[in-house]
């Protein structure tokens, strides 16, 4: 049953050094506030899992808290490179980063298998690519037709963290807009934390609303604006200017460190 906790307490209780952590949200609803809290608490040696690392993982990687990254697309959408991600992979700065790389279809199916508590998922994919030699996939034959298909191993993060528009006082969560893989991530993970724009007395059913019952969530933390510079449809807008500005901030190691000191570590919680 979800406990309503202040964000620092929720992060302290649920995310530990060395954990495999999936902070999910597909462009929309990226849990920046939770990621920043994790940085302020100095979590280390994390395995970071996320389909689209985006700016949040660029920040976590640049700050050196990740040992390993599991992902499928590491870019600044519509802008260009994630410079901290590149610096870690190209130059090992601030530390070497182990990679496990998949396609989007592979990652989505890995989460779905995790949510179903199956050890793997079947799909068509990866065939003929160099990814096969550099990641974890298998082949599997259909027992009815003999057709060869691809198997991907289930993802079972230690912790999933997502952001949603609202929760009620029992910790039932509702998100709407692009749903991504957030439900799958929560159901696949051993523990889960949901940050929300607001806590309400009762969830009003919404078009496109995805409701995750509180009894499959460990903690809910109120974090208004907690997805900025990403967005929470209907509450905040995507800060596309910041996504563009990040290119310059993140290109230089010192500029990055200074920005993180001022905007994240100082604890304002602003992006």
């Amino acid at each position: 049953m979800a406990e309503l906790l202040p964000l620092p307490e929720a992060v302290a209780a649920l995310i530990h050094d060395g954990d495999a952590v999936a902070l999910e949200g597909f462009t929309h609803l990226i849990p920046f506030a939770a990621g920043h809290e994790l940085l302020r608490q100095g979590r280390r040696e994390l395995e970071l899992i996320r389909m689209t690392p985006d700016l949040l993982y660029d920040q976590l990687i640049g700050m050196g808290c990740a040992r390993r990254l599991v992902f499928s697309y590491g870019g600044n959408p519509g802008v260009g490179s994630l410079h901290r991600f590149r610096d870690a992979i190209e130059h090992g700065w601030p530390r070497a980063l182990e990679l496990e790389e998949h396609s989007h279809a592979g990652m989505a199916n890995r989460y779905a298998a995790g949510a179903a508590d199956l050890p793997f998922a079947v799909m068509r994919g990866y065939a003929g690519t160099d990814l096969v030699a550099h990641t974890t996939v298998g082949t599997i034959a259909c027992p009815f037709t003999g057709e060869q298909l691809t198997a991907v191993p289930a993802l079972r993060p230690d912790v999933a963290v997502i952001h949603a528009q609202e929760a009620d006082r029992d910790g039932n969560v509702q998100l709407w807009g692009i749903p991504g893989v957030q439900k799958e991530a929560v159901l696949a993970a051993r523990r889960s934390l949901v940050t929300v724009e607001r806590v309400v007395d009762a969830l009003a059913p919404r078009p496109g609303g995805v409701v995750i019952p509180g009894w499959v969530i460990d903690a809910v933390a109120e974090a208004p604006g907690g997805s900025r510079p990403s967005y929470s449809l209907g509450v905040t807008a995507r800060d596309n200017d910041f996504y563009r500005a990040w290119d310059a901030i993140s290109r230089d190691r010192d500029a990055f460190a200074a920005w993180m000191d001022e905007h994240v570590l100082a604890g304002t919680g602003a992006p």
């Binding site: 396609s103 989007h104 893989v181 996504y243």
Partner: protein, 248 residues
């Protein structure tokens, strides 16, 4: 109206390719601009599908990301990412997919993973995203890329996405559903796979571009059709709509 730049011509040619097509899968950047332009000029009923799960999005602005709020708010249906790949892309329900890449080879295979060695890359690129399965399964693939020797290479540093593999028959051997790349649209012209060998062949050049200029911008000995067509210049309607769209 001032003359179209080569980039504008590239966008217009990509948009024209969507005439009469039911659905297109697009990422951000020029492909997104081209698809929105197509809805404005060539194909008002075109269904835009983004991998964020938005099916039938009708953006007024060119979105910066594939998950901008406007896409969700204007879509006919918004689905989860697993559903997008399993129920929509995998079964080949989308007619055309626009893909970009950092490297393209003569069989329209794509690299968006690394420049250099995988374990010690000179340049780490974003990675596969949805491209491998999109290219395998959508009805056909149109590659949109800037024409330069570092992009059109003899040998990919990493094969992220199979176009025509090692040539004719490769896709069939891999069990792929879609026809694969049917065109590579660049800022200099259009390459199309030879029907027999699947090797990319220059079949169309944009106005003012010389064949030799295209050869020089290609990292392999480029096959050229006997008489490459010249791209019909963007009409005033096309160019006007494109510029108006870009200014929104």
């Amino acid at each position: 109206m001032s003359a179209a730049t080569n980039g504008e011509v590239q966008t217009v040619v990509a948009a024209r390719r969507l005439t009469g097509v039911r659905s297109v899968f697009i990422g951000v950047g020029r492909p997104s601009t081209a698809a929105i332009l197509a809805r404005m000029v060539h194909n008002p009923g075109l269904v835009l599908v983004y991998e964020s799960g938005t099916i039938g999005a009708k953006p007024f602005h060119v979105p910066l990301s594939i998950g901008d709020g406007e896409l969700a708010e204007t879509a006919d249906s918004v689905v989860s990412v697993p559903e997008m790949f399993n129920y929509w892309i995998g079964p080949g329900r989308i007619d055309v997919a626009f893909l970009g890449a950092a490297q393209v080879d003569r069989f329209a295979n794509l690299n968006s993973t690394v420049i250099g060695d995988y374990d010690r890359p000179r340049t780490r690129l974003p990675g596969a995203g949805g491209a491998p399965e999109i290219a395998a399964s959508c009805g056909e693939v149109v590659v949109v890329a800037p024409h330069a020797p570092r992009t059109f290479v003899e040998r990919l540093d990493f094969l992220t996405t199979v176009g025509h593999g090692d040539g004719a028959g490769a896709r069939e051997r891999l069990g792929f559903r879609g026809a694969g790349p049917t065109a590579v649209i660049t800022d200099l012209g259009v390459l199309e796979p030879d029907p027999a060998t699947k090797e990319l062949t220059l079949t169309q050049i944009h106005e003012g571009v010389e064949v030799d200029q295209v050869r020089e911008a290609t990292g392999w000995a480029l096959a050229v059709a006997p008489a490459p067509a010249t791209t019909p210049a963007p009409t005033d309607q096309e160019l006007g709509a494109l510029r108006e769209l870009s200014s929104r």
